[in-house]
């Protein structure tokens, strides 16, 4: 256990090293929320409306999406795995007395904690300033459900990006592939626009994929757009489990191939 904690704390330290950048990041996050709010407010002021979303609902949507984007995404996992495979560093990880999946997970946790340290104060400030525009969950325990869903979302997010990263065992230049994955995933998790505004065939397609549980579903619950259902817990859980096994399988296959050909 201690070694995982060490990895987490190293990850945090590494990120804190750039002090000025840290402050700049905090300010820019504040501004990002401001820009977001101002933009949608302007649109609605003109009398426009986006689908069935009221002003508060659309602002809540994008605010929470941004919060998720800031705190819970593990895209860096994919990139760092890709780098480690490319420059041979992954061989060191094999020699360490801990699983690669668990190792990267600890690193990812470190990044998350670092981000929380930075951004939670800013986010709290934003939520306070915009409290009149935020919508509430439909259910009594809405916030509790939201926390559980977020936790699941984070795990699922990590596993998905881990798999994307592991693909580097087979893909020679991963820039193109990663880029494609990033764009597709970010769109399908609802980062660009609310998924329920898209044509029905698209929505149906999305139901068969795990991505909507990454952002869209938790955000829907906390902003009151959707009532909580138990399927929201079970389905992502099933995805986590099956993708976890897929991840382990792929890693085993990949590392065998990798060591076989040498660095």
């Amino acid at each position: 256990m201690g070694k995982y904690l060490a990895v987490i704390s190293n990850s945090i330290k590494k990120n804190l090293a750039y002090r000025a950048n840290t402050f700049i990041l905090m300010i820019s996050v504040l501004f990002s929320f401001g820009v977001l709010f101002y933009f949608w407010n302007s649109i609605y002021m003109q009398g426009n409306k986006v689908g069935t979303y009221t002003l508060s609902e659309i602002i809540s949507y994008y605010i929470f999406i941004t919060i998720f984007e800031l705190l819970f995404t593990s895209t860096n996992t994919a990139w760092s795995i890709g780098d480690e495979i490319r420059n041979g560093q992954i061989t060191n990880s094999i020699l360490k007395p801990m699983g690669y999946f668990e190792y990267k997970f600890s690193q990812s946790l470190g990044v998350i904690f670092y981000r929380m340290m930075l951004f939670v104060p800013v986010i709290a400030l934003v939520l306070f300033l915009l409290r009149n525009y935020l919508t509430q969950p439909k259910d009594d325990y809405g916030y509790l459900f939201f926390i559980i869903l977020s936790f699941l979302a984070f795990i699922l997010n990590y596993i998905i990006y881990y798999i994307v990263g592991i693909s580097s065992f087979w893909v020679v230049d991963n820039n193109g592939f990663f880029f494609t994955c990033l764009v597709v995933i970010s769109f399908m998790q609802g980062q660009w626009m609310p998924l329920d505004l898209l044509p029905t065939w698209f929505v149906t397609l999305g139901n068969y994929l795990p991505f909507k549980y990454l952002f869209f579903v938790p955000v829907g619950v906390v902003s009151g757009r959707s009532a909580f259902e138990y399927s929201m817990l079970i389905i992502p859980l099933l995805w986590c489990v099956s993708l976890y096994f897929l991840a382990k399988f792929l890693y085993k296959k990949g590392i065998k191939k990798y060591e076989g050909y040498g660095v």
Binding site: Y18, I24, S28, V35, Y38, W192, M193
Partner: protein, 270 residues
């Protein structure tokens, strides 16, 4: 004297071409990846368009901009972003070299360092943006005032100015890395701010904000102004003039700040 100027121009042109060739060759050494990247850029453009379409299915106009006029705004933005990515690589190379310590190699070459650092990296897959951007502009022209040579020429001129402005802005933000080494946070902020320039500045009801976006961080000139000129019979020549003045002003400010930051960089220990 004139001959020297011509030789210098030829030298810079040759270096520019060699860099483009290098960047293209880099991509071509992994053809599958390159095709994927191109497709993804295309996909990104399509999704942007989808967003616009979805939005406009709920409203007929956005602050006075009709759907086809809006296409001109988005198209202009795509064209300028194409140049920023394909030729300048969004100036990512500058950040990269400073962090890796390889900026020194660029500074020691007998050629203008801003030129070399700016064109060092380019992403050819982003030429897809030019295709989609131009397509949108063409559709927009057809559905608004039709082809008018004066409007079109001014439009191209304004696109050029918009590019210069965005480039200068980007350069200023990147130059901050000479002071703090990892300036990526600031760029993240700028990216969010500039990505909003694909919406007409008129959506902001507050005069002060609109003013700021026109005179202080002149994002209005990136997409809003070119689109306005392109799709309106009455040409606001003052805007055209202003766009030109802004471009020149920001270019010199950014160049000055670049040189100033370099001076600081060479006095601090690396």
């Amino acid at each position: 004297m004139k001959d020297m100027g011509f030789r210098k121009f030829k030298k810079y042109l040759q270096i520019f071409l060699q860099l483009q060739r290098i960047n293209l060759m880099k991509r071509m050494s992994y053809p599958v990846s390159f095709i994927m990247s191109c497709s993804t850029v295309l996909l990104t453009m399509v999704l942007s368009l989808l967003f616009i379409n979805v939005s406009f299915s709920f409203m007929d106009n956005l602050a006075g901009w009709t759907y086809y006029q809006m296409l001109a705004v988005v198209g202009s933005y795509m064209i300028i972003e194409c140049i920023m990515w394909a030729f300048f690589g969004q100036l990512n190379a500058i950040n990269f070299h400073i962090m890796e310590g390889t900026m020194d190699g660029i500074l020691l070459k007998p050629i203008d360092d801003q030129f070399l650092a700016s064109f060092w990296r380019g992403d050819p897959e982003d030429f897809m943006r030019l295709i989609t951007g131009s397509a949108l502009v063409v559709v927009s022209i057809e559905n608004t005032i039709g082809l008018d040579f004066l409007n079109l020429s001014l439009f191209l001129f304004l696109i050029f100015n918009g590019t210069v402005i965005l480039y200068s802005f980007n350069l200023i933000v990147r130059s901050v890395s000479f002071w703090v080494i990892d300036g990526s946070g600031l760029w993240l902020l700028m990216e969010r701010v500039t990505s909003n320039s694909q919406f007409p500045v008129d959506i902001y009801y507050n005069k002060i904000v609109r003013g700021a976006l026109t005179y202080i961080i002149p994002l209005a000139f990136v997409a809003t102004v070119p689109a306005k000129i392109l799709t309106n019979r009455d040409i606001d020549f003052q805007l055209v003039e202003l766009s030109f003045v802004m471009a020149i002003f920001f270019f010199f400010v950014s160049r000055y700040f670049w040189k100033f930051s370099l001076k600081h960089y060479s006095s601090a220990s690396s």
